[in-house]
Symmetry: C2
Amino acid sequence: MKVFAEPDDMQAESLRLRREGVRIGLVPTMGYLHEGHLSLVRIAREHCDVAVVSVFVNPTQFGPGEDLDSYPRDFERDRRLCEQAGTAILFCPSADSMYRPAHSVYVQEESLSRGLCGASRPTHFCGVTTVVAKLFNIVLPHVAVFGRKDAQQARILERMVRDLNFPVRLLVGPIVREPDGLAMSSRNRYLSPRERRDALCLRKALLETERLYGEGERSAAALRARMETIIRQVDSATIDYLAVVDYENLQPLETVDRPALVAVAARVGATRLIDNTLIGIEENEE
Amino acid sequence: MKVFAEPDDMQAESLRLRREGVRIGLVPTMGYLHEGHLSLVRIAREHCDVAVVSVFVNPTQFGPGEDLDSYPRDFERDRRLCEQAGTAILFCPSADSMYRPAHSVYVQEESLSRGLCGASRPTHFCGVTTVVAKLFNIVLPHVAVFGRKDAQQARILERMVRDLNFPVRLLVGPIVREPDGLAMSSRNRYLSPRERRDALCLRKALLETERLYGEGERSAAALRARMETIIRQVDSATIDYLAVVDYENLQPLETVDRPALVAVAARVGATRLIDNTLIGIEENEE
């Protein structure tokens, strides 16, 4: 496995690979890798000749008071996991090499990024689109793989690829869960044992939504009310949002008469967690 | 000369050329080509195997009340001039193919774009950076060539290339002038014969600045005052700005003790014209 820390070196390697006709698959991460990330590496390897994993805790996607400084980092572990997963290239730039003095250019999505996580994290997605645009230009991937756990992010990046004409195909891998159903996240390590159990309320609420939808419930308000009841039973959980939105434009739905994203964000103790499910989508569409 | 109207077709051609190791030079234009544009095509041809000229009157870089609808267009003439100049590919997309329904992603430069033309045209440069980012992703050039007449634009695009890591080398061609000194511009056709003569005051003011600087004047206020006097003598001319700025960060200078951009924008009649010169730069730096 090759390791590049300098964007210019990584880009030179990618230009060389492209000239040789090698197909590049990129998995952008913030490190502290778990099985969710590694499932994306497998998808990249299936679709490409070489998988590139980027590990970069991107400062521009953290807001004031968020967990940039405490975000978990373990480079040696990430390197080992990447190598075991068959990663060809690990790209691990420093913040200084990614954001030069007087950095002043940002990529901004102005519609899909307003609601859901964007409402409580107003600068987050601008940081995401900016860094992913940079990674696309540095790594020059044919395919980039993102996780469905960050469903809003995936939709925003699909829009970015379309609107800025990036020659990149996006693939979105399914959510990978712990055996008890908790969506894998690097932030799960913040949870105390008690909070770890409490955190299951997010998944429980989403499973209940899937069940109600399966029984014919189409009212978004009814689905949201049931989820709210479930999460409010857990003292340590504070709801940020519970949303049933059109999967295409992420606008709130009253009636689930089209593919819908059901998304939940909540603090469990001090830790902000997100999870989601898609309903109203035929199996073969998803 | 090949002609592409669809972004996807142009991008497929560029991907094919890149796989074959062909070096691509891009000259982005809004059409109604003049010798200034054609000089950029010659620069592209010198540095690359194929020159691509894009002709696209980009709606997002025009503000409300500006001249989007009346901007001069003559596609057959542009095609002929491109062909004569040795252009390999003409890319002439429609606005609908460049901006799809619900377009929502923009590239924004947040520092260099605030002053000069950005002060009176607050949305202009966001349109420019967005469309140029799109053109870079569609045409995938190794080199892109812009004119020095739009000096602020060139600096902003250099910053965009750096900050978003585009694998593109920018070249900036010198201003091409009519025999009497007026900077070539597609908008010169708006001028009445009287205004055409009056428009020379911009160049006259800049030449006077060069002369004063050559004689040792280093006060930006003194240089600006002299330019203002010259332009105010012309009844049909209304100054938008007269600026002496640091060429690096485009911030106003008090003393010209480093490379400086002297830029002027004025309306002559109803037509907004710009021109500029660089001072404090050694010949071999420029």
